[in-house]
Symmetry: C2
Subunit: 336 residues, 2 copies
DNA sequence: TCTGGCTATGTAACTAGTTTCATGCGTCTC
DNA sequence: GAGACGCATGAAACTAGTTACATAGCCAGA
């Protein structure tokens, strides 16, 4: 039944012929019905319904020069880290009559460039990229196509593309400052893969600067809950006397918290745990997670508005800085 | 710099004129370079690079009759529930040279129908819908446009669209059977909103059938971690003597587990907790969550392959049933 | 009655590519 | 030396819409 008819789709000329009007009149019925005589309009609409005519998006696009499509190059949707932002981008774009194509890159610069080209091939009018560290191939593709592009998840006013995001370095510094206030001196830092991830790198830089002089050891793991679990196992083996674990993303902190619980380590009595992101679930961990809030949803909205304005009105947006803030909950405590 | 040039984009005719060849030759350079004389080809490619020519996706689409776009109508990307599947759909579609437009519906049938129309307006060749319960408006739009559509997250061989998913009812029954084996008799069932959510309804039906005769009380809450927290508070007030909590989705189970921990209720000694979904994090909760595994990633892959085949080769796919299976971990225990 | 203006509609050009068919020209074969 | 073939290329038709411009018909006002 559905979608199985063999004969080819009717076009606007077929409708015109059947309704015994010109193609212009059919087009008018579709686009400005009020200028068409009621009787004619009704007849044309009848034929449209009868033939099951659907106008070709491509043909409309070729005339308007608009596809109303934007593309997003996102590392992955496999965790809440980006899906919240994508969700918010999509919801905002709808308000502007724009649609969103998602393309995942797995933080692989080559894959990213390839997907960027694919996005352009299907005709996107604008692109969101994640972060500010990309392959030359990507920059070249963007340059050549002249497609409006904004970079998200990273604020850098000096970047050659408009950025909409937070200062990842400052976020890390805020977390570290909190740990130092509480008297922590031996911090294990759990972070995701560095390759192709400028957000992580910026956070590590901030951590290094803020923790200068203190004992601080880095543990690279997967940017997943499981990664946090594995990191804790490693930490307890290497640095049993550490007094705080700083996760560069909540996702890993979830694993850290649960693994510590399993091991019988009391958080925050024996060990403070702090993180960056503040995902919706972070308020409800045990104990509730102290973390630096990154406004992911708001970022999605702002980024979508910026790119929509650029695409629609040809105004290159200014970079947008979204403030992060420390949210103190139950997973950190004064060192005794 | 990027994306700011005022003068209009060069088209294929501009390239032809500058390179002193016909439009046909330029088109050949683009599509079948091997039939063009090397010298001519080089010259044309030089002009293309020099003018920064990018071919119009719309114009190509109008000729090929293909947009290579698919659309997905998804309740939300705000949690891992659907983002894993979407991620997997996108990754699979790339292998077929197709791109994915995401459209979120918030489980609102009207919004869903509206977004479906928008997807068709931008020219998608196929659509994924979530579940099998939709508005008449949606069915009418799909019928009229004759666009291939598959329904995911729900297996129903008798549905008028091909479904790719699991049997939600059976999944609930499996969880309940496990609880009964363990000797549980007073079960609190925590579920998300019913309106517009056939997956939840099917799970409740399965639960009712499997738990017939036992004491079983339903708690409707938000389909989020926070929802689980609130549900526990309600349960402890209403039914302090219940011996098991069955969450119809892991997301709520995360909140349930943490809130019980906070209250000092020992899981699984005092209370068993079981759920449905088996998200990546479920293996690492405290205690590890016993849950019915739903193969979300595999579903994404299968669904993408089915729809890709339909769109590319005009073969209507058969429904695909993905088996769910109980994964017993630490959150359930024999009633003593 | 003539002119002006309005409404409704049609003709044809236009968007930016792809593709079919035709042709010019050089080379190979008999 | 003539027909055959193949390569490289061009002219023009074609995809499916939108839209500028033209015009026919009608009514009102001078």
């Amino acid at each position: 039944m559905l979608g199985n008819s063999k004969k080819k789709k009717p076009n606007l000329r077929d409708v015109a012929r059947t309704a015994e009007v010109s193609v212009a009149t059919v087009s008018r019925v579709l686009n400005s019905p009020d200028v068409v005589n009621k009787a004619t309009r009704d007849r044309v609409e009848g034929v449209i319904a009868q033939l099951g005519f659907v106008r070709s998006a491509a043909a409309r696009a070729i005339n308007s020069g608009r596809t109303r499509l934007l593309g997003a190059l996102i590392p992955t949707l496999d965790s809440d880290i980006f899906s919240l932002t994508v969700n918010s981008i999509e919801q905002t774009l709808v308000e502007h009559g724009l649609s969103l194509i998602v393309a995942t890159t797995d933080d692989d610069p080559e894959k990213e460039a390839r997907k960027a080209q694919e996005l352009l091939d299907v005709g996107v009018e604008g692109i969101f990229v994640t972060g500010v560290d990309h392959s030359d191939a990507l920059y070249e593709i963007l340059q050549r196509s002249r497609v409006p592009t904004v970079a998200i998840s990273f604020y850098d006013a000096g970047y050659h593309l408009p950025t909409v995001g937070y200062d990842n370095r400052v976020a890390a510094e805020m977390a570290c400052a909190h740990l130092m206030e509480l008297g922590h001196a031996r911090v294990a830092v759990v972070h995701g893969p560095l390759s192709g991830n400028d957000r992580t790198q910026a956070r590590i830089d901030g951590t290094r600067a803020a923790l200068a002089g203190k004992s601080c050891r880095l543990y690279e793991t997967d940017l997943r809950v499981e990664g946090g679990v594995k990191a804790v196992q490693q930490i307890m083996q290497d640095t049993p006397r550490c007094d705080a674990i700083f996760c560069l993303s909540d996702v890993m902190a979830f694993g850290v918290l649960n693994e510590l619980l399993r091991m019988g380590v009391d958080v925050p009595r024996d060990l403070s745990v702090i993180s960056i992101h503040d995902l919706p679930a972070s308020e409800y961990t045990f104990p509730p997670l102290t973390t630096v809030h990154l406004p992911a949803r708001q970022m999605g909205r702002k980024a979508a508005e910026s790119l929509a304005a650029w695409v629609e009105h040809d105004v290159r947006p200014d970079p947008v800085h979204l403030a992060s803030r420390l949210v103190v909950r139950g997973s950190t405590r004064q060192r005794s």
